[in-house]
């Protein structure tokens, strides 16, 4: 079991961090979230080009970097910390599903476009969420589902039970309606399939677990950034003649948030290691990651907002964007009790 970053992963993190600080500071995030597209296509293209973001976990034979989840986790932490808008996580989910599907033809068809950054994809319904997709005669799909960045995606990877299908949203039988979302930095859409043409691409396999690990890495990034932000603020904000960080009422809460960070990071490293190296541990690690990291991330985001005082309640302050992302992520793969129930099952309770 390895819970530490390698020196190379440390460099990867530094590269992402400095790129995002420059290309996607919060002012840009806000501009992007209010734009028609919902994200900055230019910055996104640079991310995929210069840092190979989208191709990170695409196998080398399909034009990607062939990295594992330990590397992916590093990248997702940083995109999460930056609240990077756009379909990165959705495309990662889809890439995971295609990679895991065991369908070489599908991999060859779709992964190069994903790696090149030219294909925006999404996986829907997400594991743990309700949907009503059924394959009809001739493999056409019907039903209704919610898709992360569903309106932006050029490829829908649709799960009907254990079976996966590739659906071209431009083809007939697909209607997409943008949804209103709590998280303003990442869009979702309702997708209605009415006998939509679909190509089968193998089965879900480990995808639900791997998606859970990937999401936990993003949550870790959100959690860490929230803590860093409020710690920094508590060193410069004065009330009653003292920095607020000197009051035990604040200090002790920050200490508890730090404890949550230490544990969340340990769990994410463990889950990423299990995804890469230890298939037997993966189901438990994935369920554990969602059961712990999701609620912990929301708690920290919430307390970071509250500890900012009144300024944290304003639209102009970024705290609410993190708070809303954290809650959205917490329930993205279904309500938290679902992860705990899965864990109970895995433990044989």
């Amino acid at each position: 079991m390895n819970l530490l970053l390698t020196p190379e992963q440390g460099e990867l993190r530094a590269a992402f961090r400095s790129f995002l600080r420059e290309a996607a500071p919060m002012a840009e995030v806000r501009r992007a979230m209010e734009s028609a597209d919902g994200y900055d296509r230019a910055a996104y293209a640079r991310l995929n080009g210069e840092l190979g973001l989208a191709g990170l976990i695409v196998p080398e034979e399909h034009g990607g970097a062939g990295a594992g989840f330990a590397d992916l986790a590093v990248a997702l932490e940083e995109t999460g910390a930056a609240l990077l808008p756009g379909p990165f996580l959705a495309t990662v989910f889809a890439a995971i599903a295609i990679r895991e599907s065991g369908d070489p033809a599908a991999a060859k068809e779709h992964l190069p476009g994903i790696a090149a950054g030219s294909t925006v994809a999404t996986l829907a319904p997400l594991p743990g969420t309700p949907a009503t997709v059924e394959a009809g005669p001739g493999g056409a799909l019907s039903g209704e589902l919610t898709a992360l960045n569903g309106a932006e995606a050029g490829l829908l990877v649709v799960a009907a039970g254990e079976r996966l299908y590739a659906v071209d949203p431009q083809a007939g039988g697909v209607t997409r309606t943008p949804l209103a979302t709590l998280d303003l930095t990442r869009r979702q859409a309702r997708v209605r399939l009415e006998a939509a043409p679909a190509r089968p691409i193998g089965t879900l396999g480990r995808t639900p677990d791997l998606v859970a690990v990937a999401l936990a890495a993003e949550q870790l990034g959100v959690l860490r950034r929230c803590l860093d932000t409020i710690v920094a603020y508590s060193k410069i904000r004065v009330t009653f003649g003292r920095y607020i960080g000197s009051y035990q009422g604040v200090k002790h809460k920050l200490a508890d948030m730090h404890c949550a960070l230490e544990q969340a990071e340990s769990i994410v490293r463990y889950a990423a290691w299990a995804a890469d190296e230890s298939p037997a541990d993966l189901p438990e690690a994935a369920a554990l990651a969602q059961a712990y990291v999701g609620p912990a991330c929301f708690r920290v985001a919430r307390d970071h907002l509250l500890l900012h005082g009144g300024i944290g309640y304003t639209w102009e302050h970024d705290a609410h964007l993190y708070y809303k992302r954290a809650k959205t992520d917490e329930v993205l793969l279904g309500p938290p009790r679902g992860h705990r129930a899965r864990l109970a099952g895995l433990l044989g309770l």
Binding site: L126, R237, T239, G241, L306, R337, A341
Partner: protein
Amino acid sequence: MSTDLVEFRQRAREWLAANAPAGGTGPGSVAEARAFMAKLYDAGFSGISWPAEWGGQGLGQAEQRVFDEEAGAYTLPTYYFSIGLGMCGPTVVDLGTDEQRRRWVRRLLRGEDIWCQLFSEPNAGSDVAALQTRAERAGDGWVVNGQKVWTSVAQHADLGLLLARTDVDAPKHKGLTMFVIDMHAPGVTVRPLKDMSGRSNFNEIFFDDVHVPDENRIGEVNDGWRCAVTTLLHERLSISGGVGGVAGGRGNPASFEALRATCDTADPVVRDALVELYVRERALELFNARLGQETRAGIFPGARGSAGKLLLAELTQFRADLATSLAGPAAVAWDPETEGAGGLAEALSVAPGLALGGGTNEIMRNIIGDRVLNLPPEPRADKNVPFKDLKVGTQQ
């Protein structure tokens, strides 16, 4: 209960049935609100426990409680007057001169003046006494410059209760003075402030050489802190005894009653979580009811009311967190065409407001510790230093 109260209740019930707007939920228009207040006043239900001398009804807290209980079945269009009735008016009654009471109290009770409260500043939130807005002597009166924030109903207000610094050489608590400011005066700019739910319930106010006559001063020069403490005490009481009640108002989609209808109660884990919410709601409801009964019996809750405010803020946040976690993905992405679909997201977005407005949870805990439990105070570094030498706001 005395016969008088029974009769009073009956009269209130009948009047409300005849006059309270049916089915109202929002604040309505300012004009409607003014008209309703005038009717309320004429019926003898505005300023029930306020002194008759200045325009009130001269009755007791008990009658006020009885009326509030009866009014709980309606949403009265009194929102725009809540700051005036809850904080500013009581301050004028407590601390104003007779002349000031005559000028302002009856007009407030009759709905002629909307008031706002001008204490908080960007660098003076929890620590109100750190405020930097200046009021300087100019001829017979004062000239005010500075900025206020978090001001409800300011965009509609006729008058504002202002706390300003009149002596920067004095320690922070000893150089403040309270004024009543004309919100229509030249130099007053009101700018709506968008909160994290996307709504603009609050405003920023900018003062640029605004003249205030000395007759609008409340209390002595440099004695404003003592006046402000009076106002803040009224503020906390009016929040914890607020109209929405513990359930957060009718139609709150995160309340126990709403969740029991929308959640999967066949799941024992969900059921257990809902029971936990029910228990917390009931515990606070019963505490509020007990404080109400004490008030009716002549026992003033004082700082104990801060416990109600703290508990309501915590319950509101707990409830929003829980409701969204129980509902899952549907709580955070919804079809904007479906009515009420975004309710839980909205509940989550407004939940922090209660923990941040009217004193943070930390401030409430300090008040309970200091004033209810009489614990030793925190040593203070900011009490005896001239204000101009003091660190305030956000700085390295």
